[in-house]
Symmetry: C2
DNA sequence: TTAAAAATTAATCATTTGATTTAATAATTT
DNA sequence: AAATTATTAAATCAAATGATTAATTTTTAA
């Protein structure tokens, strides 16, 4: 009867398994991943996976939670920074997303797919809703709309637009590369361009002269 | 040895299987779908699936191809219509996407996930690249940039923005609903709002006063 | 009506896959 | 060094799953 290994010891193999699992799970998703894939990727025997993590699902939960948390944490810090303006926050978020996703392009599709596969499992414990609703950023957005006498665009739209413009290209990467006829490098260059462009676009949404043909500005 | 049934006959069961397959595949993806799920969804014996379609993979390929083609076809028509302006095309695309995806919200994540799982299998035969590169829309975009003396924003950015702003909310639906604290109905209302907003936003990207209020429209 | 063809079903096969067991090896303790 | 414990590997199990078979029912058409 194998005892469960203590936390401190055998850090190395445990981490090897987690790294392999992170790679294979984010690349192929839970259902398409075989525990044997993970063992092979880690260069370790299959039995170790269950020895250290009891089951595929438990290992997956750990990976999923960690991935999601890392992904959220950096954003939460940015949106609650009381020292930066709204525009600076948007710049920072866009910049951080693009830098992170250039290195780990699989993460968003992974998170989205797995949340969809079992929404209540992951949706409950994140508290994403509060993060945004109570954020300093949301306050700033609403104040700015007042100050500018601009008709208030739901802050959710703005946040959603920032995420859409930034994250979607990575999610739909193979399709986008194909439509644009881009190599991996050209795609990354384009995303670097967008680091500058997206904040400009978002700004122009908030303080718009943008209402084109039918409504003349005066 | 069972003969392969002729095309005309037993339309009903064949269609029942395809409908069931369409539903389950788009909902759960290829890997997470069991052929038994499809049989049950169709209310039919498992063996019929292989009787009519030989294998899970062959059935899947049919569903995938059809789904993708329907999705592309309507867009290709719009972007090559020589009677409409660029702005009208964008309005139409956004509108059609949102209407379609409100009814079939699973389609984009399905297509994206499965293309990612096997890019060469699906990417080759679509010819998406040509569709856009040779489109009347792209010509219009470039001409408009000239005429307006606007610095040319890569038409790919514009197309990508349109798709991002329109499709991403559906792809990330559970997360977006959670962040915004929205019910399914409220989410759909928001997407109806975006039907009007997205074309405005895109316009303001193309002919921008958007660079933080320093350039007046005349 | 009847014989052939096609459609449908229940039972079963073979492979895959998550998980376990048992034995061997390495590390640590006494 | 001997004993104990931790770690690793090979073999195997049991359930899930895609696919097939053989028997039965239904439909077609002569």
């Amino acid at each position: 009867m194998k005892a469960i290994p203590e936390i401190a010891k055998s850090f190395s193999t445990e981490e090897k398994i987690k790294e392999a699992a992170r790679k294979v799970f984010t690349q192929k998703g839970y259902a398409a991943t075989r525990t044997r894939d993970i063992a092979e990727e880690a260069g370790l025997n299959l039995a170790l996976l269950n020895y250290y993590f009891r089951s595929k699902e438990k290992l997956f939960d750990i990976i999923m939670t960690e991935t999601f948390q890392v992904f959220m944490q950096s954003i939460v810090e940015i949106i609650n920074d009381e020292q930066t303006t709204m525009n600076e926050k948007i710049e920072k978020m866009v910049s951080r997303y693009i830098d992170t996703l250039t290195i780990h392009p699989d993460i968003p599709l992974f998170i989205i797919s797995e949340i969809k596969a079992d929404p209540k499992k992951f949706m409950s414990k994140t508290g994403m809703s509060q993060h945004f609703q109570n954020s300093f950023l949301k306050k700033q957005m609403m104040e700015l709309a007042m100050a500018n006498k601009t008709p208030l665009i739901n802050p959710l739209h703005i946040m959603l637009n920032m995420m859409s413009l930034t994250i979607f290209p990575f999610v739909a990467n193979p399709i986008i590369q194909n439509i644009g006829g881009l190599s991996k490098e050209q795609f990354n260059e384009m995303m670097q361009e967008r680091k500058k462009l997206i904040p400009i676009w978002i700004s122009s949404m908030i303080a718009p002269t943008g209402y084109s043909a039918d409504k003349k500005q005066d």
